[in-house]
Subunit: 342 residues, 2 copies
């Protein structure tokens, strides 16, 4: 018995394409809007009185992670979480999302279905509807597997003004949990390394955590998820956009023990490794305790910690007080640590 796999004709717009839509995509993602198979989906951004409550926000991301299945997730879960999280980093709750698949001829249909089912489950968990989709197929010789684009629309609640440029001297810098889990999980999976404690991606949708945070502290200045380039690169971006400096205490940054061990073995710094279920939050000092309590009350923020402060000195630069007690500049990621991490 041969396993069914993706054929070029699945991307041809004809009978097989329609068959794939019915058998895989609509089976798992189906809803009245998507099922109508219109060229564009009509979407609802207003409440029952026809009012749009909040400011619409838009974000897009493509996912090329390799392998497509990894401990703690898969490319489908990642694609939904990543776009939900980018919306959440403006304080927005997701409303709807589109999904574009690029498949390679020969991909087992069972793999595709597993990814699509995972997207459906993650979207349901995050409370976002998938309302538009597209599929293209590449020849076997011209790509390897499965790429996904997700583009999301959300609504920022009235009064919330979260921005990468809003950090102010005196503010407190926090992370929602331990860093490095996603990147190390992918890397050890790819290299075939084994550790006593398995490394799992932290891949998770953060919009519900962000809702709790905004309820506790509507005046949050900055949220950002430290994905590619890790915490160090994200902090550098924020310092540059806000025109401020950061003083970060390395000993305060949570890192799970297996991640630390694997990082040492592989010669990596967990501060530069991608995360897919963590966020950096920056708030006024007076709000810090309330925000930290709110974060720790949510399953995705249990290990939240204050890791440093915003300063007026050395604008655009992140200074790290190291475990050894020295001070050094923490630069942005210079080269490429690991391709296809997300």
């Amino acid at each position: 018995m041969t396993e069914e796999s993706v054929l070029l004709a699945h991307g041809g717009g004809g009978i097989l394409g329609h068959d794939l839509i019915e058998r895989v995509f609509l089976k798992h993602l189906g809803n009245p809007v998507l099922n109508a198979l219109e060229d564009a989906a009509l979407i609802e951004l207003t409440d029952e009185r026809g009012q749009m409550v909040g400011q619409p926000a838009l974000t897009t991301d493509s996912y090329v992670v390799q392998p497509i299945f990894f401990p703690g997730g898969d490319i489908g879960k990642l694609a939904v979480c990543g776009t939900v999280n980018d919306l959440a980093m403006r304080g927005a709750q997701p409303v709807c999302m589109s999904v574009g698949f690029i498949l390679t001829e020969g991909l087992p249909l069972s793999d595709l279905e597993r990814v699509v089912a995972s997207m459906a489950a993650t979207a349901q968990f995050a409370g976002v509807r998938i309302l538009a989709g597209d599929t293209k197929v590449l020849e076997r010789s011209s790509g390897d597997g499965l790429f996904i684009n997700t583009t999301g629309i959300g609504l920022v609640p009235p009064g919330v003004q979260i921005s990468a440029s809003a950090a102010r001297p005196g503010d407190v810098v926090m992370v929602s949990g331990a860093v490095g889990d996603h990147g190390l999980a992918i890397m050890t999976q790819r290299e075939g390394l084994r550790f006593d404690s398995p490394l799992r991606s932290d891949c998770a949708p953060l919009n519900l955590l962000v809702r709790v945070m905004i309820e506790a502290c509507p005046g949050i200045h900055v949220l950002r998820d430290p994905t590619r380039g890790g915490l160090a690169t994200t902090l550098n971006e924020l310092a540059a956009r806000s025109g401020v400096g950061f003083e970060i205490v390395e000993a305060s940054v949570p890192v799970h023990e297996p991640v630390r061990a694997a990082s040492e073995l592989l010669g990596l710094d967990p501060l530069y490794v991608a995360n897919e279920g963590k966020l950096v939050a920056i708030v006024e000092e007076d709000d810090a305790d309330a925000l930290l309590r709110a974060m720790r009350s949510h399953p995705f923020g249990r290990e939240a910690a204050i890791i440093g402060r915003v300063v007026a000195e050395h604008p655009g630069r992140v200074v790290l007080r190291t475990l050894l007690g020295t001070r050094r500049v923490l630069d942005m990621l210079a080269g490429e640590q690991l391709p296809r991490i997300c």
Copy 2:
């Protein structure tokens, strides 16, 4: 002097990625929203009084066309037009769009810049703003070139209710111009064929044509752009969605002479070949003349023609009166005519 090309590190989220964003993407696509480099872009769907005039619509498409440059366009122009057109097929005018690039290591930066500049020019022509973006980079061994996802948001004017399921018996079926140009242009370019009259893609944004059409005839029942699978496949989709039959007169379907000649040489039927700047419109008989005049008044509808009728008989089926005077069922595309046509 070696030509600069895309490196894996351009996708790493670090310094080179930021450099690419500045030097290529923001150079051509830059605007205050995009320049802010936030995780999600705040978008405006309301007028100056804070009212949303119309119903928001969402569409997504990925583009994998090979070669990326072809007579009449390139993958960038195609990506903007395709998404603008999918919105227009609901009657929507585009408001904003996101762009996701997947690049392969080794792609010349000059090619990327040419594509991005083409996107900028096409977006300006169509009146759509590009407000969110993302870039990923694949290893050379795992992909060949440049894939683009565009996801668009538009607004459907109040009262307009265009849908693939709205064709009714007695309605008139039109196309906005000659069919087969895009597919044949790609195919002959790829095969290295030469013809006396060069074949050019019809790739064009149709939202301005649609605006003129809706002004002339707000009650248009159906619009659909016959892309992958061509006119024949689109008509089959519409017949199925609307639960009606079509009677199409082959002699009435405009086909440019070079397309006809190339199709014969290649053993293709232009009715199954992809278009990227044409639409099918279905209206009540009483509106047909006014709509045809409106279409012909616009540069992208000059060769518009009535090609058939909607009937209550044989629901879901398209029947063609052929050039030879016989009648036959025009099926949906069965296999794959040509991979990576769009």
